[in-house]
């Protein structure tokens, strides 16, 4: 719509400025070709979601922005610094026409070539687009000169060379910042989309839909048969979710983490019955050692989901803790979690959770923590090793 209004404005201005009939005709012809071109490019518009360096220039919103910017620029060019209010309408319409031609053609060409340009690096693609725009300005300048440089009309009082150079210099000065603006705006939008996607994934990882809905199902069943157990399960579940949903940058002690794990195991035992048994051997660990929250719990969750659940008879998860002191400076904590796995099962699918834990351990203990995975016969073992610390200073606050 805005497009049409704008064009209508033009046509009105032209008739005001008293063009000759013939001239008017060529101009309307120019307009109609322009309209056809915009229509064509719109049809060519590809719905690719690829991350390219420029936004889709064929959307109405952007075409409108381009037209407005080009028009403002045309106004600036025709303003006479000495007599601001005296606008030469004829000059304005010609300049506007020229600038809109350049702007919209560039817009259309870049729109069509957008996905092709996306294959190059951002810098090179930007350079190519810039050159393309200058080429378009050059071609249109040539055409304009051919059409309008009739001495008797006195529309162009310049030689051909100075006319073209003049246009190219102005075009180069303006299109650079405009391209840059579109580039930055597009990058910003891509960043926002990526961030919100990542945030959603993180939230989903914290909530564990499979675990949540199965637990709720268990609770629903228990409310009929054993209200007390149901109550306990709700308490455990809310305790678990409170920790998963809070800010986990602050560490807690191993004691707290094992409490959390016990809550989790309690919920899962309700569900799996006697198929799940747990062997805790962590008494030798110093209780005040710090650990990032939700380090051990996801490992247990993996062990249950990939190890115990596929086994008809279930099995036992072993959690062993060892405390090693070579000297005062070298105190290490080693925790291994092992679970049986079904014979045909491929040990995969839990890689993401393991990567995540490894990364968090590395961040927290500044690279001095390790996570190792081992599959032997039908036993899957994850071992984590990290230094014994009781004080933690948030590296962000330093």
């Amino acid at each position: 719509m805005e497009l049409l209004v704008n064009f209508a404005n033009y046509i009105m201005k032209f008739s005001y400025s008293g063009f000759e009939r013939k001239q008017n005709k060529t101009n309307t012809a120019l307009f109609s070709t322009l309209l056809v071109m915009i229509d064509l490019t719109k049809r060519l518009k590809r719905n690719t979601q690829q991350a390219v360096f420029l936004p889709d220039l064929c959307t109405i919103r952007i075409v409108f922005a381009v037209i407005v910017v080009a028009q403002l620029f045309a106004f600036i060019l025709v303003i006479n610094p000495n007599r601001v209010l005296a606008i030469n309408w004829l000059q304005l319409s010609l300049v506007s026409l020229f600038i809109q031609w350049c702007a919209l053609t560039s817009c259309a060409v870049l729109c069509v070539l957008r996905t092709n340009l996306g294959r190059f690096s951002d810098g090179f693609a930007g350079f190519l687009s810039y050159m393309l725009i200058l080429l378009i300005i050059y071609i249109i300048s040539e055409l304009t000169y051919l059409a309008l440089a009739i001495p008797a009309w006195e529309y162009i009082n310049q030689t051909r060379l100075s006319f073209i150079v003049h246009n190219l210099v102005i075009g180069a000065l303006i299109s650079g910042p405009v391209l840059r603006y579109f580039y930055i705006q597009h990058q910003w939008q891509l960043k926002i989309t990526a961030e919100s996607k990542a945030r959603f994934a993180a939230l989903q990882a914290r909530i564990h839909p499979h675990f949540l809905f199965n637990s709720l199902n268990t609770i629903a069943s228990l409310t009929r048969s054993n209200a007390q157990q149901a109550e306990k399960a709700v308490e455990n579940l809310s305790g678990l979710f409170r920790i998963s949903l809070q800010d986990n940058s602050k560490p807690h002690t191993i004691e707290e983490e094992s409490q959390l794990c016990r809550r989790y195991i309690e919920i899962e035992s309700l569900r799996l019955g006697d198929r799940l048994s747990i062997d805790w051997q962590i008494d030798s660990l110093p209780k005040d050692a710090l650990i990032p929250p939700l380090t051990l719990q996801p490992l247990l969750e993996n062990a249950i989901y990939h190890g115990i659940e596929p086994l008809p008879e279930g099995g036992c998860i072993r959690i062993k803790g060892r405390y090693q002191t070579k000297n005062i400076l070298h105190k290490k904590i080693l925790i291994t979690i092992s679970n049986p796995i079904a014979a045909q099962q491929h040990p995969h699918g839990n890689q993401m959770a393991l990567d995540n834990i490894q990364q968090r351990l590395e961040n927290f203990y500044s690279q001095s923590a390790t996570l190792k995975i081992e599959t032997q016969d039908s036993l899957f073992t994850v071992s984590i090793e990290f230094p014994y610390i009781t004080h933690y200073e948030n590296p962000d606050r330093r």
Binding site: P209, H210, L212, F213, N214, L216, N217, T218, I219, A220, S221, L222, R224, S225, L270, R271, L272, G273, R275, E309, P310, L311, P312, A342, Q344, Q345, H346, H348, G349
Partner: protein
Amino acid sequence: MKILIADDEPLARERLKSLCEELGRYQIVAEAKNGRQVLEYIPQFQPDIILLDIRMPTMDGLEAAQHIAKLDTPPAIIFTTAYDQYALSAFDNHAVGYLLKPINIDKLKNALQSASKLSQPQLQTLQQQTPQDKQPQYISARVKGNLQLIPVESIRYFKADQKYVSVGYIEEDTLQEVLIEESLKSLEQSLQNCFSRIHRNALIATQFITGMEKDPEGVQWLNLNQIDIKFEVSRRHIPEIRKLIKDKSL
């Protein structure tokens, strides 16, 4: 209406049972802990509807449904699942009966009332949309109207003979052979991890291959562990079988 409940979690079974009882007019005839048990119970209890959990050990709900669909008069299936994004997308497209846990009694009522048989195309799309990280654990054969389940690990070979495919497997140390309905091509696809094609008409369990020998006429024959039959290897497949044997001996 007779209902069979299949879920590996005792509390989930209990809940379904009490919901069905609340609805009246439905009778729970059996409870199964996995897909394998479901197939055992069907001839015994003749259920009309099966409430089938998708994630179960030994044989999951999707595999069980595939075997069930081969029966002459298969019971209707309603899948139950806590969260299974892949399967759910298939359900949404094809409106197969499914229920999300915790199950709502009204939805259960509706599902039971409109329960109908799964059609083969529905089942196929369901299979395709669910990522196949697991291969089937059993091959089913129809013996006198009943389903016989053959554990994949006991199978030595599949052999195509004109129209039929026969499967050779070891039961109690003797070689048995039954006819099945699947084609060699589909078997080759679903069992590609542990079976290899050696001839246009034969698929062999890779782990039981003991060696290959040439007869005076230059034809290569394959020997298998525990059985006396030799299998002809077509010329086209010789290089890959040779490679398999070499990899095994290393």
